[in-house]
């Protein structure tokens, strides 16, 4: 456990039509942690993190980010401080990688263009695609696209980055390069909440790991304990399945 409370779910419920995804969900994510959320598909993992930056509005309960109640009115403010990386990358195909990475800083954070571009170049270098700044997304491989999407998120200089299954749409040989970049961010101490099935990443880079099922955290533990001595039977079964696969 590091730092102050960053994201606070307090009795949050969320449903899609008849389907209840989250019911009375409460949890406090703390600053500086890399928190991995794993679980079967349909457990509510993606929905949970999509509520944090108001991509999904919650139905009831209270959700606070850095003490700010997340709502339609505060969504803009929250999103200036929370970035997101998507499963399908969602880069803007009509814009160069550089423009992708500077759109938010320039038009939302009102940063000068020069500064936004300088930091984008630096970040692109860091993730190993410095030569792709003037390319369009379609000219990049999947792994490069996701790294570019991570740069787009990082260039917002966010207090928290949400990763929504960032490697699930990648060809196997490209997963490593994206995970390496994410490990680098984790080691910097930036707060991250990562929905992923990559247990190797969780073991190596996570501070905390949660197993989620039916809209609840069944078990939350420091990474080492989570893998070595999971308490809950469902967690054990899940780990056996996913690790033997």
């Amino acid at each position: 456990m590091k730092g102050d409370v960053l994201v606070e779910f307090d009795g949050v419920s969320k449903r899609f039509g008849e389907t209840v995804v989250l019911e009375n969900f409460s949890y406090q994510f703390r600053e500086g942690n890399t928190h991995v959320i794993c679980g079967r598909s349909g457990a509510g993992k993606s929905t949970l993190i999509r509520c944090i930056n108001y991509i999904e509005p919650i139905d009831s309960g209270s959700l606070r980010f850095e003490g700010l109640e997340v709502s339609k009115q505060t969504a803009h403010e929250v999103r200036k401080r929370v970035a997101m990386v998507f499963q399908q990358f969602n880069l803007f195909p009509h814009l160069t990688i550089l423009k992708n990475a500077t759109l938010g800083p320039i038009h939302a954070l009102k940063k000068p263009k020069r500064g936004a571009e300088a930091s984008a170049f630096e970040l692109l270098q860091r993730v190993g695609i410095g030569d792709k700044a003037r390319s369009y997304p379609a000219q990049l491989s999947g792994g490069q696209q996701q790294r570019a999407a991570i740069v787009r998120a990082l260039n917002m200089n966010p207090d928290l980055i949400l990763f929504d299954e960032p490697t699930s749409a990648l060809d196997p040989e490209m997963i490593g390069e994206v995970l390496d970049v994410m490990k680098g961010i984790a080691h910097e101490g930036r707060s991250m909440i990562v929905v992923t099935h990559e247990m190797g990443f969780a073991r190596e880079a996570a501070d905390l790991v949660s197993f989620m099922e039916d809209g609840r955290f069944i078990e939350t533990k420091p990474a080492e304990q989570f893998f070595n001595s999971p308490e809950h039977e469902t967690t054990q079964r899940f780990l056996r399945q996913i690790l033997s696969a």
């Binding site: 991509i55 803009h76 999103r79 970035a83 969602n90 009509h94 759109l103 939302a108 379609a138």
Partner: protein, 220 residues
């Protein structure tokens, strides 16, 4: 019957053709601006406004453009037939362009909107920077088709006294009493304009395609 030389015929028709052509930029500009604006509003799911726009679209779709033209000409008490023509054709075609733009916006993957919001862009900026620039590839063929219809609809506006190509043709006919060659020439004129427009849209499509050489499905 008075003989009119071919050269004179072409000159008279040419003057009318110029008048027809001079209407087009206005109609295209107004209906494009109006259609994009209404299409965006229509996509943003504002309760009352959405229904009003839908009503407008449905009404326009159900009335012949000739009637709109008369309605505008006689209701607005516009002195000028040219202004009436531009207003009527713009109002009429805006409705169709609205639907085309709305469809174009609906075809953009949800992830694009979400990614735009995730970098803290407000809705208007998401539209301006991310969504609208991407719809053209999708809607250009439909848009070109609509503007070809617009060109053909300009054949109506002589009824409110615009001295365009059909009006010029009738002037000649009153001298020669021989409608066939006149209408043939007018037909050729419209055919050329419409074909040019078609070619223009093919060119534009190619240009738009350059940056987005990835199949749509892969970026969903």
């Amino acid at each position: 019957m008075i003989h009119v030389s071919f050269a004179a015929m072409i000159r008279m028709l040419g003057e009318g053709a110029l008048q027809t052509l001079s209407l087009l930029p206005f109609c295209i500009a107004f209906s494009l601006a109006g259609g994009v604006l209404l299409g965006i509003l229509q996509s943003s799911k504002l309760p009352v406004l959405n229904q009003l726009i839908s009503l407008y679209v449905v009404v326009m779709r159900g009335i012949p453009p000739l009637i709109i033209l008369f309605l505008v000409f006689f209701s607005a008490n516009l002195e000028s037939g040219v202004v009436s023509a531009i207003v009527a054709l713009s109002i009429y075609h805006t409705a169709y362009v609205t639907e085309i733009v709305r469809g174009g916006i609906a075809s953009i993957p949800k992830g694009q909107f979400e990614a735009g919001k995730s970098i803290a862009l407000r809705n208007s900026r998401v539209m301006y920077h991310i969504i609208i620039p991407q719809i053209w590839r999708q809607i250009l063929p439909a848009l070109a088709g609509q503007y070809i219809i617009l060109v053909k609809d300009t054949a109506l506006v002589s009824v409110v006294g615009v001295r365009e190509i059909l009006w010029a043709g009738r002037q000649i006919m009153q001298l020669t009493y021989d409608p066939f060659p006149i209408y043939l020439l007018i037909g050729v004129f419209f055919y050329v304009i419409c074909t040019l427009l078609e070619q223009l849209s093919v060119l534009a499509e190619k240009r738009v395609r350059i940056y987005a050489s990835v199949p749509r499905g892969e970026n969903r």
